[in-house]
Amino acid sequence: MTKRRSVGIVVLVAMAGAWELVSRIYTGEAAPGEPMVPGWEVVFTRTLRSLSDYWGGGLGVVAVSEGGKRTYEGALLAIGANSLDTIARLFAGLGLGGVGGTLLGLAVSWSRWTRFLVQLPGHVVRTFPLLAMIPLFQLWFGISFVGMMLFVAYGAGVIFFVGTINAVKNVPPIFIDYARVLGASRLRLYRTVILPAIFPELRSTILLSLGLGWTLVLGAEYLGAQTGLGQIIVYSEQFAYVDRMFLVALVFVLYASLSYALFDRLSRRLVQWVPRGGP
C-alpha cells in the first residue's frame, strides 16, 4: 500500500518533470506570447495571477475589469468561487441522480408491475450518448444551475440504474431465501438484505458515477456556462491561453482525485465485512 503510494508519487513527479522538459524543448506558441506548453514557473506566477480576471470583485479585492490589479488573492478568490459553482452542480446532480437511479433500479426487481414500468424505458434511455445531449438540456432548462445539475443527475442516474440492477441480480439467492424463511417482509428484505448486499458492488458504481459526474459537469460548463472551472478552461481555449487552461485543469484534476480518495476512505469502512477486501 505505502509502496504503491510512493510509486504513484514518483510517477507524478516524473510526469511533472516531463512537462517541464517539454516546455523547455518545445517553445512553440499557440498565440503570440502564449506558449503551447507553459513551464511550471510561468504557471504558478503570471498565470496564477491572471486568474484574478475571473474574480467579479468583493471581499476587499477589486475586480480586474474595474481597474483592479492582478493579484494572488484575486486569483485564489476566483478559483474558489468558480470551484464552488462547479462542485455544487456536481454534487447536487450526483445526489439527485444517485437516489433516483437507485430507486428506479430497485424498482426493476421489486415487483412485476414496477419492472414493466421502469426497465424497458430505462434501458432505451441509457443507450443515448450522454455528452451529445448537453445542448438539449440547455435548450430545455437554459444555461442555469438547474440545467447543469439535472444533466449530471441524468448521467449519474443512468449509471446507478444499471449498477443497481446488476448488483441486485448478483445477490446470492440463498440470502433472499434465508430472509424469507425467517419471515422478512418485502420492505424489510430490501432494507436489511438487499441494500447491504448490493453496497459493495454499488461502491464501484458510485466511483464510476463520480468519475462520470466530473466529466459531465465539465462538459456542461464547456458548452456555455457563465461560471465554473470548465467555463474558464473553454474560455481560455478561445484565446489560446494554454497556461490558464492548464492551471485550471490541474485544480480540476486535483478535486477529482481528492473526491475519489475521500470516497474510497469513507466507503472502505462500510464494506469491511466483504471477504477479500471487496471488489
Binding site: 424497458l120 468519475g211 487552461m245 484534476v253 482525485s257
Partner: protein, 287 residues
Amino acid sequence: MAGATSATGFHSEAANRWQLRAGLRRAVRPAELLGVLGLALVLGFWWLMTLVISRTALPLPQDVFARIADDFGGAPELALYGVGQNGLLSSMIYTGENVLVSVAIGATIGTVTGLASARFRLAREIIDPIVLTAGTIPILVAAPFFLIWFGVARISALLLVILYVSTILYIFAQRAADNLDPVYEDAARTLGATPRRVIRDLLVPGTVPEILGGIRIALGGAWGLEAIAELLGLPDGIGKIIQVLSQQTDAEGIMAAIVFLGAVAVLFDALTAVAFRWLTRWSATWA
C-alpha cells in the same frame, strides 16, 4: 457434511464469477428483445410531455422523425452554415469512422497492455501508476488541450477517444486476467503448457467476456465523447450539426441529430452484443 459444505462453497465461487457476466448480459437482453416496446413507452411519454411543454422546446416525435428523413441525404439549412452539405448521413459517417477507428486502436492498446500487466510484474509496476493517475483525470479535461495542440481536426478527436478507450480496456483486461481462477493456469502448467500457450489458450479466451464487456462500455462512451469533441470545434460530424443548430435553438433539428446518433449507437451496441454472445458461447450463464 464436510463434503456438502465444500460443495456449495465450490459452486458459489465459480457461479459468482459467471454471475457478474450474467448480470451484464441479462441487464441488456430485454432491451434488445423488447426494445421496441420500451421505445414505444418512451415515445408515449415524450408525446405526453409535448402536451405541457411548448413545441419549440419539445417537438412532436413524428416531427423529429420526419426531420431525420428530410435531412438524411442533404440539408440546405445546414449547408448554409458550411456543415452537413450531404445531410445527416454524411456527418454520421464522419462521426462513425472516428469512433470505430479510435475504439479499435484504443481497445488493442488497452487490452495488450492490460494483459501484459497482469502477467509481467515489471510492466504492471510501470504502467499501473500511470494509468491510475491518468484514470483519475476526467477525460474531457484533455479535450481543449488536444484541440489546441493538434488543431480542431480529426486527429484531436481520435486521440481523445483512443486515450479514453485504452484506459478502460487496460483496467478491464487486467482485472479479467487477475480474476481468472489460478487453478486453470496450474492445470495448464501441469498438462505441459508453455508460457506462450498459457497466454494463447487461457489468458485470452478466459478474459474475452470481460474484455468484450469493456469494449461495449467504451464504445458506448466513445459516441458521446466524439460528439462533444465535435461540439467543441471539429469541422464536421453529428456533434458539429448539433452545435450549429443549438445556436439557432432549433430543438427539432437537435433532437433529430441526437435521436439519429442514439439509434446508430444502439445499433452498434447490438452488433457488439451479437459478437459477444458468439465469442462467449461457452460461458455458463446464458445456458
